[in-house]
Symmetry: C2
Subunit: 216 residues, 2 copies
């Protein structure tokens, strides 16, 4: 299996705080996400700053777009984002409109969604989905389990590049060892740790230990 | 039936453009919405500017929040928003977390949702929903019909204050005459018209003509 990417989600309420944290770990992670909270707080300036600081990395705008896909995607692309997220409850028309304006769309799987829907996303050319444990669900005591792994397998079998997120720690990564995960997304698990740089390196080391270094 | 409110959605990609438009109509409309596009472009500064200009009006942040409800709602309230939207696919935990931090939450009905879900929102104290024709669905040729009116009636019968949006014109308002609509939301139907102020006044006049002036 290919080595999964490590993505850091910058879910800060302040752009300055986000920049302070990414500066410590930007060269360790593979993908930088402008989290929804930061998008809503700092607007497209957050995307612009991260694009300026990291011209060669993938920058994702986690807009969870539900409507006006064309305009939102165009704005994100203009600000420098490579990819953007749409919520799974968005209409196909919204997702298609967004997909025309930016390199790739990732579908965020929240709440109810079905394999039939997922197949429709594949049929219109969507390659990526994000499988979530919601932050609020985690706070309410839910955690990763067999049910999640089964659904993840379904999605990778359909040909999706699947990103996984929600309460991930270095210790939980091995739960996913049988799944060709495309990207692990960590937020406060890295940025809120005592030593964010060491935390990011530990994630990368554990990913390499389990999945190899991607070199055949 | 009570007179429905008129809400203008500022779905501009530039804060300056939004402020230029609201200045023409701010005193005519009942509710001012910081649209999703504007939230994502200008961040919380958009909410702050509108709160500063219209200290006595209801300001809504159309975040379509899908996760981290507590943080997003707290940030919106701090910036001066009265109400905030959550997407219907958000978990109950997310909606509850958001509801604790801001005056009221409005649930945006996009894609698949059920009456059972809606009852759960009522059960946790949510009073408002927004019934949508998505912009992209409208662009794809869909329009208001019997199916929509039937679902609207279900929602008002459940006790929700229902806002209605998506491609509304002065001419379409009478379609809803049998429904106790709480708020009509217009965006470009007002802001992109040749004379936004006249357009807003025409909406208000037609609402008064159909539903009365709210005085018994």
């Amino acid at each position: 299996m290919a080595k999964p990417n490590l993505q850091v989600a910058l879910d800060h309420s302040s752009l300055a705080d986000a920049l302070g944290d990414i500066y410590k770990i930007g060269d360790v992670v593979d993908i930088i996400e402008v989290g929804t909270i930061l998008c809503l707080q700092a607007g497209q300036e957050a995307i612009r700053c991260l694009r300026a600081l990291y011209p060669n990395q993938i920058v994702i705008a986690d807009t969870k777009c539900a409507d006006a896909g064309g305009t939102v995607a165009k704005n994100c692309a203009q600000a420098g984002a490579n990819w953007m997220t749409c919520i799974c409850s968005a209409t196909l028309a919204t997702i298609q409109a967004a997909a025309k304006e930016i390199e790739e769309i990732q579908i965020e799987l929240y709440g109810q969604w079905t394999v039939e829907q997922a197949q429709k996303w594949r049929d219109i050319g969507i390659k990526q989905v994000i499988y979530h444990q919601s932050r609020d669900a985690l706070l309410a005591g839910e955690t990763w389990g067999e049910k999640d792994l089964k659904r993840l397998k379904e999605l990778t079998d359909m040909g999706f590049n699947v990103s996984v997120t929600g309460g991930l720690t270095v210790q939980t990564l091995s739960l996913f060892r049988e799944i060709p995960v495309y990207t692990f997304i960590a937020g406060r698990g890295i940025t809120a740790s005592v030593d964010p740089r060491s935390a990011a390196i530990e994630f990368q080391d554990e990913i390499t230990r389990i999945w190899g270094d991607g070199v055949d």
